[in-house]
C-alpha cells in the first residue's frame, strides 16, 4: 500500500485583479471575470521561479512527511517554465532539500499535467522497490502574452508530493488518456505560448478530462458519486465546472479544490494545488478523485483514499488556503509588467 506521505503547497503573495488587466486592454472586466470565473491571479516576485516555488512547496511536504530527506530516492519536477532550457531544476531543488547525491532526478514537461506525470513515475518506482520515497512536484510561473486571453489566467504556484510506504493518503489507482491534439504549444525560443482558441475546449480539455475520469472509474469499479472530493485541472473556472456538471458532481464536492478563482491557472501546479487544498481538510476514509490535463494532450486520473494518519500531518505545514487567502498584496499592471519582465526596450 503506497501513496502520499507528505504534501505541500506554495503560492506567491502578489495578486493582480482581472479588472486591472481588463482596464489596460480596454475590455469589459465583468464579461471577462464572469466568462473565466477568475477574480484575480497570483504573480511571482522578480526572484521567484519554478525552482524557488518547488523548494517552498517541497519543504512543506517534507515537514508533513517527517522523513529523512536522504531517503528520497528520486525527484521529478513537472513544469513548462523551467528557468533553464538546459540544466535541470530538479538538481537545485534536491540539493536545497538535502536529498543529494544518491538519487535520480529529471525535469518533466507535459504542459499542465507534468506534475501528475511525475507522481505516476515516482509511484511506479516506489511500487517497484527502486526507491523508498519519491518526490513529485508540479510548479510553474506560467506565461501569457500581453493582451492575449491567457494573460487573465496565467499564474504562478506549485505543489509537492512525497510518495512512499505507510501513506496518509493511499493512491488506489491511476489511469491516463493521451492523444496527439495540438491545442496549445510554445516552441523553442518563444516567450509566450500559442493556443487554438476554441479548439482548446471540446476536442482538448473536455475530451481528455472526461475520458480519463471514465477510464479510472471503470478501472477501480466505482461510481463517481462514491467520491467525497473531486478535483479537475483548472485552466479557468468555467471548464472544470462544466466537466463537473457532466459527471453531476455537486458543488460541495468540487469547490474546496477549485482554487483557480483566486490565484488563476498555475499550469503544472493547477490541479495539484487543488488536490493539496483538499488534502488540507480531508478526513479519514474519504475518497478523492483527481484528473489533471496537459495540452498536447493528455489527462492523468487518480483514485485516492484518505487514511487516519492524515490527522497527524495536516497541521505540520502551512495550508494551501493560507497561501491563497492570507498575506496577499495587490499590484497594478505596471508592477506586473516589471515583475514578469514583459517590458522589452
Amino acid at each position: 500500500m503506497f501513496g502520499i506521505v507528505g504534501w505541500g503547497a506554495y503560492v506567491p503573495r502578489y495578486r493582480i485583479k482581472t479588472e486591472e488587466i481588463a482596464r489596460v486592454w480596454g475590455k469589459d472586466p465583468k464579461t471577462i471575470s464572469k466568462g473565466l470565473g477568475i477574480v484575480e491571479k497570483s504573480v511571482p516576485d522578480l526572484d521567484e521561479d519554478t525552482i524557488t516555488i518547488s523548494v517552498e512547496a517541497a519543504r512543506n511536504a517534507l515537514a508533513r512527511a517527517g522523513i529523512d530527506p536522504k531517503d528520497i530516492g528520486s525527484v521529478y519536477i513537472g513544469s513548462e517554465s523551467h528557468p533553464y532550457v538546459v540544466k535541470p531544476s530538479g538538481t537545485v531543488v534536491a540539493q536545497a532539500l538535502g536529498c543529494t547525491p544518491e538519487l535520480m532526478v529529471a525535469d518533466l514537461e507535459f504542459a499542465c499535467k507534468a506534475g501528475t506525470a511525475g507522481m505516476q513515475i515516482v509511484l511506479a518506482q516506489v511500487m517497484a522497490g527502486m526507491v523508498k520515497y519519491g518526490l513529485a512536484i508540479g510548479a510553474d510561473t506560467s506565461q501569457g502574452r500581453p493582451g492575449d486571453a491567457l494573460e487573465y489566467s496565467a499564474a504562478a504556484g506549485g505543489a509537492a508530493f512525497i510518495i512512499g510506504p505507510k501513506p496518509a493518503v493511499v493512491i488506489e489507482d491511476t489511469y491516463s488518456y493521451t492523444t496527439d491534439t495540438p491545442d496549445f504549444w510554445r516552441r523553442e525560443g518563444q516567450d509566450y505560448p500559442k493556443h487554438g482558441a476554441r479548439f482548446t475546449g471540446k476536442p482538448a480539455y473536455f475530451k481528455h478530462v472526461i475520458n480519463a475520469t471514465y477510464g479510472l472509474l471503470e478501472k477501480v469499479g466505482r461510481d463517481v458519486s462514491e467520491y467525497d472530493y473531486v478535483v479537475f485541472h483548472m485552466p479557468n473556472a468555467k471548464f472544470p465546472i462544466k466537466a463537473m456538471k457532466h459527471f453531476k458532481i455537486p458543488k460541495e464536492k468540487y469547490l474546496p479544490g477549485l482554487v483557480v478563482t483566486k490565484i488563476g491557472n498555475c499550469y503544472s501546479g493547477s490541479s495539484l494545488l487543488g488536490l493539496s487544498a483538499v488534502l488540507d481538510i480531508a478526513e479519514p476514509e474519504q475518497k478523492i478523485l483527481l484528473t489533471s490535463f496537459g495540452s498536447g494532450a493528455g489527462s492523468d486520473s487518480f483514485s485516492l483514499l484518505v487514511k487516519d494518519k492524515i490527522l497527524d500531518v495536516q497541521n505540520k505545514a502551512p495550508k494551501t488556503r493560507d497561501y491563497i487567502e492570507k498575506n496577499k498584496e495587490y499590484i497594478d499592471y505596471g508592477m506586473y509588467v516589471k515583475l514578469r519582465k514583459k517590458l522589452k526596450i
Partner: protein, 390 residues
C-alpha cells in the same frame, strides 16, 4: 430555356467540426443529397461547388477536382465558383443555367467551407479578402467594421435602434432552437445581445454570425427529368447582380443596390410581388444586414425595417417568416455553404419537412450576399410550376 427544379437536398450540421476535413464534409452533404433524391452517382452529369477561400483556410485550391474525386464521380465536368459569402448561390445559379440551357438533365450544386482550422484573427483577415483589399483591408478595415459603418448610418438616417437590431438575432436563435443542424440551437434575449462583448461599435458579438464548418448540396433536374421525382421544388425566379466592391464607392450605405437589382429580376421572372413570399432566408451575416435585406427585398418600406421586426412581422407564421433555419447568425455561416443551405431550408419548408419550425408556405425566397453587397443572388422557389407565374 427550360424550367429547373430542386429534387434532392443534403447538408451536414453546421458548427465546429474539429474531426472532419473539408472533403469529408463535402462528401457527407453530397451523399445526403443523392440519397434524398433517390438517384445514383452515375446519374449526375456535372458538379458545381461554391467555396470562398479553401486556399487560405486550409491551403487547398482546385476544389472542383477534389470534390468530384472524393465523391467518386471522376470524369464529369466540375467547376468551383467564388463570390465570397455568395459562392454557394453562384454554384447553384450556374448549375441551374446549365440545366436550363439543355446541356444537362441532372447536376449537383454544392457549397462547403472549413473555417475553424485557422485562429480567429486569421479568419478575420481571410474573410476581409471579400472586400477591397487595397482600399479597405490594408487600411485596417474588417467585416464587422464595415457592417458597423452601415449600422451606424442606418441608425442615423432612420432612427433604427440597437434593440431592433438585436431582435433580428433573437428571431434567428428562436428558430435555430428547433433546427438540429444549427450551430447554436438555443434561444437568446435582447438583453443577451446588448450585454454581449462589443465587436465593432455598435455591433456586439451576438449581432455577428459565427465562424463555422459545414457543407450543403442540392440535386437539380430539368423539367422533364424532375417529373419522375416525388416532390420537386421549382426555381421560378432567379437574379444575380453586382455593386461596387468597396463600401465607400457606393451611393448608399443603408441599401444594397445589388439586392434590389437581383430581387427585381427574380420577382419579375416569378411574376409575383414580395407580399406573396411566405418564407425567406436572408443574409444576416450581421444583424444590420438582415434589416437592410427586409427593405431591399420589398418586405417593408425603406428605413422601416426596425419597426417591422419590432412588430413581430418576421416571426414564424407572421407577415413573412424570416430565417426559419436560424439564419447565418444562429444556424451558422460556413461561408461557401451558406447559399446552398439557405436553398435547402426553403425547399424543405415548401415540401413541408421542417417539423416544429414548419410554416405554411407556397413561395419561398433566398437572399445571399457576397462581401458587403458587391455580389447578391436572389432566388424564388414555388411548390408548383404553373403558367400564371410566368
Amino acid at each position: 430555356m427550360r424550367n429547373v427544379a430542386v429534387v434532392g437536398v443534403g447538408e451536414t450540421a453546421f458548427g465546429e467540426h474539429w474531426e472532419k476535413s473539408l472533403r469529408a464534409l463535402a462528401v457527407e452533404a453530397g451523399i445526403a443529397a443523392i440519397r434524398d433524391a433517390n438517384i445514383e452517382g452515375a446519374d449526375i452529369e456535372a458538379m458545381y461547388i461554391g467555396n470562398m477561400s479553401a486556399g487560405k483556410f486550409i491551403g487547398q485550391e482546385h476544389l472542383a477536382a477534389l470534390a468530384v474525386d472524393q465523391a467518386g464521380l471522376v470524369g464529369i465536368p466540375s467547376s468551383r465558383l467564388e463570390a465570397a459569402c455568395a459562392s454557394g448561390s453562384l454554384a447553384f445559379r450556374q448549375a441551374c443555367l446549365a440545366v436550363a440551357s439543355g446541356e444537362y438533365d441532372i447536376v449537383i450544386a454544392a457549397g462547403a467551407e472549413k473555417m475553424t482550422d485557422l485562429q480567429t484573427e486569421d479568419v478575420t483577415t481571410t474573410l476581409m479578402g471579400a472586400g477591397d483589399q487595397e482600399w479597405e483591408g490594408w487600411l485596417g478595415m474588417t467585416f464587422p467594421g464595415l457592417y458597423a459603418l452601415m449600422a451606424r448610418r442606418h441608425m442615423y438616417e432612420y432612427n433604427t435602434t440597437r434593440e431592433q437590431m438585436a431582435l433580428f438575432s433573437v428571431n434567428g436563435h428562436k428558430n435555430a432552437a428547433l433546427n438540429p443542424k444549427a450551430q447554436f440551437p438555443f434561444e437568446i434575449t435582447v438583453e443577451d445581445v446588448l450585454n454581449s462583448p462589443l465587436v465593432a461599435d455598435p455591433l456586439r458579438l451576438l449581432d455577428c454570425s459565427p465562424v463555422s464548418d459545414g457543407a450543403a448540396a442540392v440535386i437539380i433536374a430539368s423539367e422533364d427529368a424532375a417529373k419522375r421525382f416525388e416532390n420537386p421544388i421549382w426555381l421560378i425566379g432567379s437574379g444575380q447582380a453586382t455593386d461596387n466592391l468597396a463600401l465607400h464607392d457606393r451611393k448608399s450605405l443603408t441599401s444594397l443596390r445589388a439586392t434590389k437589382i437581383a430581387a427585381k429580376k427574380a420577382y419579375e421572372q416569378a411574376g409575383i410581388s414580395p407580399e406573396k413570399i411566405d418564407v425567406a432566408e436572408v443574409h444576416d451575416c450581421f444583424s444590420i444586414n438582415g434589416l437592410i435585406a427586409l427593405e431591399d427585398l420589398g418586405f417593408c418600406e425603406r428605413g422601416k425595417s426596425g419597426k417591422f421586426v419590432e412588430d413581430g412581422n418576421i416571426e414564424r407564421g407572421a407577415a413573412v417568416s424570416i430565417n426559419t433555419s436560424g439564419g447565418l447568425k444562429a444556424k451558422g455561416h460556413p461561408v461557401g455553404a451558406t447559399g446552398i443551405s439557405q436553398i435547402i431550408e426553403i425547399v424543405k419548408q415548401l415540401r413541408g419537412e421542417c417539423g416544429k419550425r414548419q410554416v405554411p408556405a407556397e413561395f419561398g425566397l433566398t437572399h445571399n450576399v457576397g462581401g458587403t453587397g458587391a455580389t447578391v443572388v436572389v432566388n424564388i422557389f414555388g411548390k408548383e410550376l404553373k403558367e400564371r407565374w410566368v
